[in-house]
Symmetry: C2
Subunit: 386 residues, 2 copies
């Protein structure tokens, strides 16, 4: 019996070396990279404990990642008794990605290292009226300028992520666009930029990518469940559920439809603006900016208007918060820069309307959120186990 | 060098037999049980291919599951050349669970085998006015009667799942209840039933459990993302996202708040009922039943009213569908039994309102959905790898 069992074990080992374990090895490598990215440095025993493998397995993994140039070995640490443990760090500079935000008013290109840290950027103003062909030209120009800048010397860009308003299909085509970008519906962004931007070009919806940025590098990076509310020229929702971006079955998650009454809150801002000598047809963001400025300067009427706007936003969002029960709501988009002038009355009203009020946080990523999310999308692509 | 590497391998094997692999083995066993539950019978090579392990590993797994009584070996199949392959099946009768639905009007108890197939049941009518103490008595009685019935002879119940309206905390306590069950808020269902129902008592929200039933045993068992709309005396939403029930950060996901306008659709039903000699203060379900009956019998006004109700439901749901972008919407609850009289106008209107219309399906689990989901909750508890 003993012998038969031993035979079986031997046979399994042989098989395991050829068949199954490649998947296991790739999963272990992916887990190791996840852990390594979050730490300044690590030893083999620490890695073993953190990803739950034996020390010899962790040793093999580090050797493999060193060979692949994903790790660097650090100088042995001083002090301690006996031979100092070998220490390693993730080689964030082993590759780079681009994150591109194609908007109505700007094209923003960021280059990041493998940790998602921005190392170079270029911003190119555009106008909402630009034709699709010219907008694509602007994207190609902005990418080229970002890569030609002094900060980009020595970069090894491996992939490009692109964020755009509108619904994006899995192939990277803009299916429909709710903002009024002329000719933008139907544009095959992935095809139009491949060859003009480094590596594979992956495309996502701008608000979904801003949500990805918040969940990985923003104020909600510690949170498994949050709802992102984009408050700019329109409202949009992003969902981060169980530690992942929720894209939806058709990739269209986050749309707010007419029945959601999302335009209602803005009316007060526009009315105030019109009553205070504002231009005839302001964008919603410009009207908001004027109200916020006046409220911050002590104008009581503007403060009241901003408060009413925040309450109306909460009214509009309460039903989604109640159904999803997230831990937090993150306010992003241009108007969220009003800070506590917006977030406090918003949180107050939300708490009155929902059975389990979430925390309310304000994004700190500013206008870079979509570009940061686009870079993360590209990183996900680079790091996906094949 | 060769020798040093071999030494390392040996060392790893030794370690792997004591440390890491227990998790891997448990994960493999869980994967094997999942595959086995979905098949009438299986051979070792089939199991190996389906869960992606080597044949010797699959052989070890089957041996282990046989020892634990989770598998039965079948008679060798006839025909074919050479020694017939050993065939196994999941031993569904190795254990049982109870699923209990505690409602305003009924207590329903189901006993199921480890495949979730109902083997015994007991239904005890109750009234909405019952005190909490008497409602708990009714639950204990219904459980005892179900287990005392002839169909329950030889059952080995291992755990009990309970569904109730209201928000349920992780300990099994009813935190708040929106239906008017007197004294029900604050009831510690898990504590009150432990010892009166078999095994560990796990508790969940009724609509969340109905959603679990649809996602595992109902019309959406093939679907990774769907939204369940409960249409009974009130509206409620259940979310099934990426193949799992979405409970929310506080376990409260699925609430429809006042701002959602969920009572609006019912008004037309109640108005029609009042205008056709119905009782003075009908439940919403009773009014709906009368409207459906009249519409099915060819009453044009009733058909119009039902259609308007379906449209108003779609108006109310469209915003959630747009934000979540699910593959399907499942209509459940008493009023969903109107079938296509409800689902067709509902689907039509939803398609007009949302950018990516989902399929619309009608539940076939009837009034058992919450009890079935409660049994699944208990099964999940029994089968969770320790």
């Amino acid at each position: 019996m003993r012998t038969s069992h031993d035979d079986k074990s031997e046979k399994r080992d042989k098989q395991d070396k050829s068949g199954d374990p490649s998947l296991l090895r790739r999963l272990n490598a992916a887990a190791a990279l996840r852990v390594l990215r979050e730490r300044a440095e690590i030893t083999v025993p620490e890695l073993a404990a953190l990803i739950g493998v034996s020390r010899p397995t962790a040793q093999d993994l580090t050797a493999q990642l060193l060979r692949e140039g994903r790790l660097v070995e650090l100088e042995p640490g001083a002090g301690g008794v006996g031979r100092p443990a070998r220490r390693f760090r993730f080689r964030a500079e082993a590759g780079h990605v681009l994150g591109v935000d194609v908007g109505a008013h700007k094209v923003l290109v960021l280059a990041t290292d493998l940790l998602g840290r921005t190392v170079a950027s270029h911003r190119l103003p555009v106008t909402p009226e630009l034709s699709a062909a010219r907008r694509l030209d602007a994207v190609r120009t902005a990418v080229a300028r970002c890569l030609a800048g002094p900060a980009a010397a020595g970069l090894r860009p491996l992939a490009t992520g692109v964020g755009t308003s509108g619904m994006v299909d899995p192939a990277g085509r803009v299916v429909t666009v709710s903002d009024s970008l002329p000719g933008w519906s139907g544009v095959d962004l992935s095809a139009a930029l491949t060859g003009h931007a480094p590596g594979r070009v992956v495309v996502g919806n701008d608000i979904q990518l801003a949500t990805l940025a918040e969940g990985t590098a923003g104020v909600a990076a510690d949170t498994d469940d949050f709802l992102y509310l984009y408050v700019g020229n329109r409202l949009g929702i992003g969902l981060w559920l169980r530690g992942e971006l929720h894209r939806g079955h058709h990739g269209a998650a986050g749309e707010m439809v007419a029945g959601d009454g999302w335009t209602v809150p803005y009316q007060r801002l526009l009315d105030w603006f019109a009553g205070h000598g504002g231009e005839a047809r302001p964008t919603r963001e410009n009207a908001a900016r004027a109200v916020v400025r006046a409220a911050a300067a002590g104008d009581g009427g503007a403060a009241y208007t901003l408060r009413a706007f925040a309450h109306a936003l909460a009214d509009s969002l309460a039903r989604h918060v109640a159904v999803l029960d997230p831990r937090a709501v993150v306010l992003g988009g241009g108007i969220s820069r009003a800070g506590t002038l917006l977030s406090e009355p918003f949180a107050e009203r939300l708490a009155a309307l929902t059975p389990c009020p979430p925390e309310v946080r304000t994004s700190t990523l500013g206008e870079e959120s979509t570009a940061i999310g686009a870079a993360r999308l590209a990183l996900d692509h680079v790091e996906r186990p094949v």
